[in-house]
Amino acid sequence: MSTNLNNNNEVSFVPPFLKKIFEYIKSTPVWKSIFRVGYPDTMPKRMAVMRSSFYMHIFPTKVGVHGMKIKYGWCMGGITFFLFLLLTITGILLMFYYVPEEHRAYNDMKDLRYVVPFGVILRNMHRWGAHGMVFTVILHMIRVFYTGSYKPPRQFNWTVGVLLLLITLMLSFTGYLLPWDQLGFWAVTVGTNMASATPLLGYEGPFSKYLGIQIDNDIRFALIGGTRIGPNALVRAYVWHCVGLPLIATALMIFHFWRIRKDGFSGPM
């Protein structure tokens, strides 16, 4: 490989003919319409990159030294987001083989473990990733609490974070039923029976009888689509798990990250 010096006397490992090709590509209108600023070697250019690029706009132009310290936050929010992306990808792949129907669900789960190519690693990544996401999101919350990062001006982002924690738990809960095994079935039986004790809305909860709430018109009935855990409950858990809750989570995450971007990283104590 030939090395040569460029105008600034810096060593370049790019052969001249490739350099010419690159320069040509960079001069085309197509390239310029996508990458508008060029190499961000000055402060105004850096700001322009962050402002004009969709992928970069989530990042701040400058980060304080304290914000770079791994020990400050252990990147727990970032790991949670990474796990969310991992769960989305593995979850979509699992959907190609899994059918939420009472006679198929359990067998499809078993097929994923023993028959489908790479099925077992996909399912295990999804399952352990889900456990991991609950774990890291709670650690993230604990960290935010102990570093006082919920204090003004970040109160509202704490609230959004609490909603995201609840969505994470709801995703775990709905995903629990999908293997259609004894563990998930009875866990969801117990969990949805708890919903029937909701004040006003649950048929076993306080004050509900004054509203005429019964087993066939209370909040549990809406959750499981019937009076017992059956095919309707399986489909509802599936749709909430795969479509409804991830959409809500994504919307909240967009806001959560935008708010962090605007408020900046909280400083060390």
Binding site: W186, T189, V190, Q214, N217, F221, G225, N232
Partner: protein, 194 residues
């Protein structure tokens, strides 16, 4: 100032359209929300029937000697019901734990029903003798068909203890005297000759 201008002052065009616009917007989102909520309550359920034919009373063995009751488990898996034969008659208990809805198991040697989820224990009357369950096991109705077989109704609306208690607020883990007057009579209890 003529009358037309006075009216303009009271309800200007801007104000009218402002109120009308917001009213329309809230009406749209309100009714959409209500319709969306209604959507989640199905009108038709394809759940198993809440009645079944439990056969004739003679098919159930009566207790012998010091035994208080014989718990028959033949309908537990398909109907979630235990048929309990005592010396005086027979009754049907629903195999749904009153705590959070798991299925208890029958242990003949200990003469107890035990729930695997959170450890509630019931005696053969269905009364809670241990664990977190707040009320006794529910009874199902038994009616005799013309051919002498028992028609058991497990529909949850008919067997709630709350229905027995009507408006009373206190819940107990044992049957009250008032409730005993209900559960040991038809349709919750079928009297048989010993």
């Amino acid at each position: 100032m003529d009358k037309e201008n006075e009216f303009e002052k009271r309800v200007s065009r801007r104000k009218f359209f402002n109120i009308a616009g917001w009213t329309g917007l809230f009406a749209f989102f309100g009714s959409s929300g209500a319709a969306g909520a209604r959507f989640f309550y199905p009108k038709v359920l394809y759940e198993p029937a809440s009645t079944f034919n439990a056969g004739k009373p003679e098919e159930y063995t009566a207790p012998a000697g010091n035994e208080k009751a014989v718990v028959d488990e033949r309908w537990k898996k398909s109907q979630r019901v235990w048929m309990v034969r005592t010396k005086e008659g027979i009754y049907a208990m629903v195999a749904i734990c009153t705590h959070l809805g798991c299925t208890p198991n029958w242990f003949p040697t200990e003469v107890r029903f035990k729930c695997p989820c959170h450890g509630s224990n019931y005696n053969t009357d269905g009364e809670v003798v241990a664990g977190p369950a707040p009320e006794p096991l529910y009874r199902a109705k038994i009616e005799l068909a013309p051919d002498g077989s028992m028609i058991v109704t497990t529909g949850l609306l008919g067997i709630r203890r709350a229905n027995l208690q009507t408006q009373k607020k206190t819940l107990g883990v044992f049957w009250t005297e008032e409730e005993k007057g209900v559960i040991w009579k038809p349709p919750y209890f079928l009297q048989l000759k010993a």
